[in-house]
C-alpha cells in the first residue's frame, strides 16, 4: 500500500514542523501531522498563496479548535473594537500572538487574496499587531476573524483591548525633546568653537552675534526640553523632600541665568554649550530608562484573561453580551471550554470545572446544581446554564485586583534619590563657603562666578546617567536569557529581596513536559486499539497519550463518539474501546482515582494513563544555590501530595504551606513584609496574581512568552529558572558598578571644583570636563556590566 517514492523526504509536518506521526495525512505530495495543518494548507493552496511556505520552512502553527465568535456580530462590541469607521470602510487592529516570522508577515499582508473585501492589512512585527482595513458591508468582523482563525492566526480579543491604553504618546514627546536638545547642542557647539580657538580682531564683531544666537538656542532647551526637571523639582520641594531632579533643575537654571547675563552685558562666553549638552544627555538617559518591551505586557489583569463577551439567555434567545454589561440575575450559557466570567450559581447541567488557573489544583472539579461557581473556572463538558450572583468586576477572584487589598506604604526608594539629598547638601556647602570667602575678600564678581561655577561643575548628571545605562545594560543581558524585567526601577528592587516565595504548580513543575505512565497492562495489539481511538480526538490529554504510544499503524474507528469533559469511545477493529474519565466507562469503578485517562476495552478495565507534571530541570542546584542566602518558602494551592519530593529539593528550614487560596497567598506575603522582609514571589497563574502584585518583586513564570501572565515586575521563561541566582548576583554587581561610577564622577567633579572655587572656571573647561566624564562613565558602566555578566555566566 505504501509507495516509497510518494513519501516526502522530510519527516516533519510541512505546515507546522512537528514530528510526523507514523500515520500521516498527505496532500499534493506534502505530509501533514493533523487535519488542521492540512486544511490550512488547502486554503492557502486554493488562494494561490503557497509563497507562505517559500520564505520559511514550516512556518505554520497548529490550529486550535474553532472558537465562538458570535459576539463579534453585536454592534456595541464592534464599535468598541474598531479604530475607525466610515460609510464603507472599517479599520481594526488585532493583537495576534502567533506572528513570529517573515512568512507570517507575507501571509497576513496578502489577506486580500483570500477575500477581496479586505483591501489592506499591515503588520507591526515587533508589536505582533495587524491592522486590517475592510469593507464592512461585504465582510463582517466575525467573518474576518474567522478567516484569520482558519489560517492559524487567531487574534487575541480580550477585555483589555477594549480599554485601549495609549502609552506611546509620552515616549514620542520625549523624542521630540531629545531632537530639539540635540539640534540646539550641535548648533551651539558650532558657534562656540570660534570663541574657544580665539578670534582675530576682524572676527570680534561676530562675537556678539554668536553669543546671542547661543542664548536663543538655550531658550527652547531650558523652557521646553528641561521643563519636566523644574516641575518635578518644585513638586518634591513642596513635599519637603529632595530628589535627583532638584539639583539638576538648579544647575539648569543657574547655567541659563549666567549665560543670559554674560550675553546681555557682553562679559565673555556663557555656558550655552554645557547647558544644551547637559539637557541632551539627561534626556538620553531618560530615554534609555524608558525602553520597554512592546510584545510583553506586564500590567495584565483579569480583563485580558477573560473573553470579551459571553452568551446570555434572554427571553429564551441567545444574545452575546459584553462581560462588563453582565448584571446580577442574568442567565449565562457556558459552552465546553469557555470561562465562567462572574461568580454565579449553577442552574442547569453538569459542570466539571478546570480551576487550575484559579487554585493551582490540576484535577477538574465536579459541581452540583445550586452550587456557587467562582469566576475564572473553565467548563470542561456540556453547555450549562448559570445565574450571575456578582458582576464580573466584583467577583471573588477579580476582586484581587481591587486596589484596597494592597498596601502602598512601603516606599520604593532607589539609590539615586537617597544619595541626591547628601549630594545637594554637599554642593551647597561648597558653593556658599566659596561665595562667602570671595565676599570676605570684597570681590563680589568672583563671588558670583565662584558660586555659579561650583553649582555647574558639581553637576550630578553622571548620577542621572550611570543608573539608567547600567541597569538597561543588565536588562538586555537578561532578556537574551529569557528574563524580561518591566523597567529599570524594578531591577533595583530585585537586588534588595531577602525572601523568595515559590508557587508549586506551573512554577516548580513544567506545564509542557509531562510524564505519562500506564498503571495496568496493555499488550501490543490493545495499545494499537487505544491509539487508533485517541487519534480521532483533539483533546490535549488524548494528544499527549497518543504521542507517548507512538503507534506504527492505525485501525479504522467506527461509531466514534466524544463526550466533552468525559472522554471518547468507539468501535475499533471490532472491539468497543472507551478512554477518558470514569464517567465515560460503561460500568462503575470502585476505589479508583478520577484523574488520568482510564481505558476499557470490551468489558474489562485495563488501567489508567496517569499524567504527572514534570519538575523543572535544575531545581536541586537552584535551591542549593539559593539556600543560605535567602529565606525560601513554598505556597501551593495544590494538595500536599508532593511534600516529600519538595522536601528533597528544599532544605529542612524551608516552610511549605499547601491548600492555599489566592487570598491566603496574598496574606502570607503581606505578613512576611510586616516582619520587614523584602519578598520576591515566583508564580504563574491567576491564583498567584494577588501575591505577585503585593510582593516587592513579582516574577511570573511562563513556558510561552505570549501566553497570559498575571501582572508582575518580570516575566521569566520556565527554562531559565535555574539561572535565577545568577540574575540576582548580576543585579547586585550592577549596583556596585553604579556606586563605583559615582566615585569616578566625584573625582572629576573635584577637579572642576578646584577651579570653580577660585572663580576662574573658564567655560571651555566646563565644556570639556562634562563630556569627558560622561563618556568615561558610560563606557565604564557598559564594560563593567559586560564583565560581570560574563562572570555570572550570563553571556556566552
Amino acid at each position: 500500500m505504501k509507495n516509497p517514492t510518494l513519501v516526502h523526504k522530510s519527516s516533519v509536518c510541512y505546515h507546522c514542523g512537528d514530528q510526523l506521526p507514523s500515520v500521516k495525512l498527505s496532500c499534493d505530495e506534502k505530509d501533514f501531522c493533523c487535519v488542521g495543518c492540512k486544511s490550512v494548507y488547502q486554503i492557502l493552496a486554493e488562494n494561490n498563496m503557497c509563497n507562505y511556505y517559500a520564505y520559511n520552512d514550516t512556518p505554520g502553527h497548529k490550529i486550535k479548535e474553532n472558537g465562538h465568535f458570535e459576539y463579534l456580530e453585536e454592534p456595541s462590541i464592534i464599535s468598541q473594537l474598531i479604530d475607525y469607521k466610515d460609510s464603507e470602510n472599517s479599520i481594526i487592529t488585532f493583537y495576534v500572538p502567533a506572528i513570529h516570522c517573515s512568512s507570517c508577515i507575507w501571509l497576513l499582508e496578502h489577506l486580500y487574496k483570500i477575500n477581496p473585501a479586505i483591501f489592506s492589512s499591515r503588520i507591526d512585527f515587533l508589536k505582533k499587531e495587524v491592522t486590517v482595513s475592510y469593507k464592512h458591508d461585504k465582510i463582517s468582523l466575525r467573518q474576518l476573524v474567522e478567516i484569520l482563525n482558519q489560517i492559524g492566526y487567531e487574534p487575541l480579543i480580550s477585555l483589555q483591548d477594549v480599554v485601549k491604553e495609549k502609552g506611546n504618546s509620552v515616549n514620542k514627546q520625549l523624542i521630540w525633546k531629545i531632537a530639539i536638545a540635540g539640534f540646539c547642542m550641535g548648533n551651539v557647539m558650532l558657534f562656540s568653537f570660534p570663541e574657544y580657538f580665539g578670534l582675530s580682531a576682524v572676527e570680534k564683531e561676530f562675537q556678539y552675534l554668536f553669543a546671542w544666537l547661543n542664548l536663543a538656542f538655550c531658550v527652547p532647551v531650558t523652557f521646553y526640553c528641561a521643563k519636566e526637571y523644574f516641575t518635578s523639582a518644585f513638586a518634591s520641594l513642596k513635599q519637603r523632600h529632595i530628589n535627583l531632579d532638584t539639583p539638576l533643575a538648579l544647575i539648569i537654571a543657574v547655567l541659563f541665568i549666567r549665560t543670559a547675563i554674560s550675553t546681555a552685558f557682553g562679559t565673555g562666553p556663557g555656558f550655552a554649550d554645557t547647558l544644551t549638552g547637559l539637557v541632551f544627555l539627561l534626556l538620553m538617559g531618560k530615554w534609555v530608562k524608558q525602553r520597554t518591551y512592546h510584545h510583553i505586557s506586564f500590567d495584565r489583569d483579569y480583563r485580558s484573561y477573560f473573553p470579551i463577551a459571553i452568551t446570555v439567555l434572554k427571553d429564551g434567545r441567545e444574545k452575546p453580551t459584553a462581560i462588563n454589561e453582565i448584571e446580577v440575575g442574568d442567565r449565562l450559557l457556558i459552552r465546553n471550554g469557555e470561562l465562567i466570567p462572574a461568580d454565579s450559581i449553577l442552574m442547569k447541567g453538569e459542570v466539571y470545572l478546570d480551576m487550575s488557573f484559579v487554585t493551582g489544583e490540576a484535577e477538574p472539579q465536579q459541581k452540583v446544581l445550586g452550587e456557587i461557581l467562582y469566576a475564572g473556572g473553565r467548563q470542561m463538558g456540556e453547555a450549562v446554564e448559570l445565574e450571575v450572583v456578582k458582576s464580573a468586576s466584583q467577583s471573588y477572584l477579580t476582586g484581587l485586583w481591587n486596589k484596597a487589598y494592597y498596601k502602598t506604604d512601603f516606599k520604593k526608594k532607589n539609590f539615586n534619590d537617597s544619595i541626591a539629598k547628601y549630594f545637594s547638601i554637599g554642593v551647597f556647602v561648597v558653593a556658599f563657603s566659596a561665595t562667602a570667602y570671595w565676599l570676605f575678600q570684597h570681590d563680589s564678581v568672583k563671588a558670583w562666578s565662584a558660586f555659579t561655577a561650583v553649582v555647574i561643575v558639581a553637576c550630578p548628571c553622571v548620577l542621572a546617567l550611570s543608573t539608567p545605562f547600567t541597569l538597561s545594560a543588565i536588562l538586555s543581558v537578561f532578556d537574551k536569557k529569557g528574563f524580561y524585567v518591566k523597567n529599570t526601577d524594578a531591577v533595583e528592587q530585585l537586588a534588595d529581596c531577602d525572601t523568595i516565595v515559590f508557587d508549586k504548580t506551573g512554577t516548580l513543575t513544567s506545564t509542557v513536559n509531562a510524564n505519562i505512565h500506564f498503571n495496568g497492562a496493555l499488550n501490543k495489539e490493545e495499545q494499537l486499539l487505544v491509539a487508533s481511538l485517541l487519534n480521532n480526538s483533539s483533546h490535549p490529554l488524548s494528544r499527549q497519550v497518543f504521542k507517548s504510544l507512538c503507534p506504527d499503524k492505525l485501525f479504522a474507528v467506527s461509531e466514534y463518539n466524544e463526550i466533552p469533559g468525559k472522554g471518547i469511545m468507539g468501535l475499533v477493529n471490532g472491539r468497543m474501546v472507551y478512554a477518558g474519565s470514569k464517567k465515560i466507562l460503561p460500568f462503575e469503578l470502585e476505589g479508583k482515582e478520577n484523574g488520568g485517562v482510564h481505558v476499557v476495552i470490551g468489558q474489562s478495565y485495563k488501567g489508567c494513563y496517569a499524567i504527572e507534571q514534570e519538575w523543572r530541570s535544575g531545581l536541586f542546584k537552584l535551591m542549593s544555590a539559593l539556600e543560605g542566602r535567602f529565606n525560601l518558602k513554598v505556597l501551593s494551592g495544590d494538595t500536599n501530595r508532593d511534600e516529600k519530593i519538595l522536601g528533597c529539593f528544599f532544605g529542612t528550614e524551608t516552610s511549605m504551606q499547601f491548600n492555599q487560596s489566592p487570598r491566603q497567598k496574598l496574606g502570607e506575603v503581606i505578613s512576611l513584609q510586616d516582619k520587614g522582609k523584602k519578598v520576591m514571589m515566583l508564580g504563574d497563574g491567576l491564583n498567584d496574581a494577588g501575591a505577585l502584585k503585593q510582593s516587592n518583586f513579582g516574577i511570573a513564570i511562563t513556558d510561552n512568552i505570549n501566553n497570559f501572565t498575571p501582572g508582575c515586575d518580570a516575566i521569566l521563561k520556565g527554562t531559565s529558572l535555574s539561572l535565577l541566582p545568577n540574575f540576582i548576583q548580576l543585579v547586585q554587581d550592577g549596583l556596585k558598578v553604579i556606586k563605583i561610577s559615582f566615585g569616578i564622577a566625584t573625582a572629576y567633579n573635584l577637579i572642576g571644583v578646584y577651579y570653580a572655587v577660585q572663580g576662574t572656571l573658564y567655560p571651555l573647561v566646563a565644556a570639556i570636563l562634562m563630556p569627558i566624564s560622561t563618556i568615561t562613565i558610560i563606557s565604564f558602566t557598559s564594560l563593567a556590566t559586560r564583565y560581570f555578566a560574563r562572570k555570572n555566566k550570563l553571556v556566552g
Binding site: N51, I105, W106, E109, D124, K172, F183, N187, F206
Partner: protein, 59 residues
C-alpha cells in the same frame, strides 16, 4: 565679511529645515515600526501569467 552674516543665517535655516523634516517623519509614524518594512521589501512580486503576451503569440 558681512556676507558671513548671511551665511550663518542660511546655515541655521538649513538646520531648521532638517529638524522640521525629522519631526514630520516622526509625526507620520515612520519611526513607529522600524522592523517590518525591512522584511516587506524582500517579498517577491507575484509572477502573473501575462495574457496580452499569449494573445500576441496567437495573433
Amino acid at each position: 565679511m558681512s556676507i558671513l552674516y548671511f551665511l550663518i543665517g542660511c546655515s541655521v535655516l538649513v538646520a531648521l529645515i532638517f529638524l522640521g523634516a525629522f519631526f514630520w517623519a516622526l509625526k507620520s509614524g515612520q519611526h513607529d515600526d522600524v522592523y517590518t518594512p525591512g522584511v516587506r521589501i524582500l517579498f517577491d512580486d507575484e509572477v502573473k501569467e501575462d495574457k496580452s503576451d499569449k494573445n500576441h503569440i496567437s495573433d
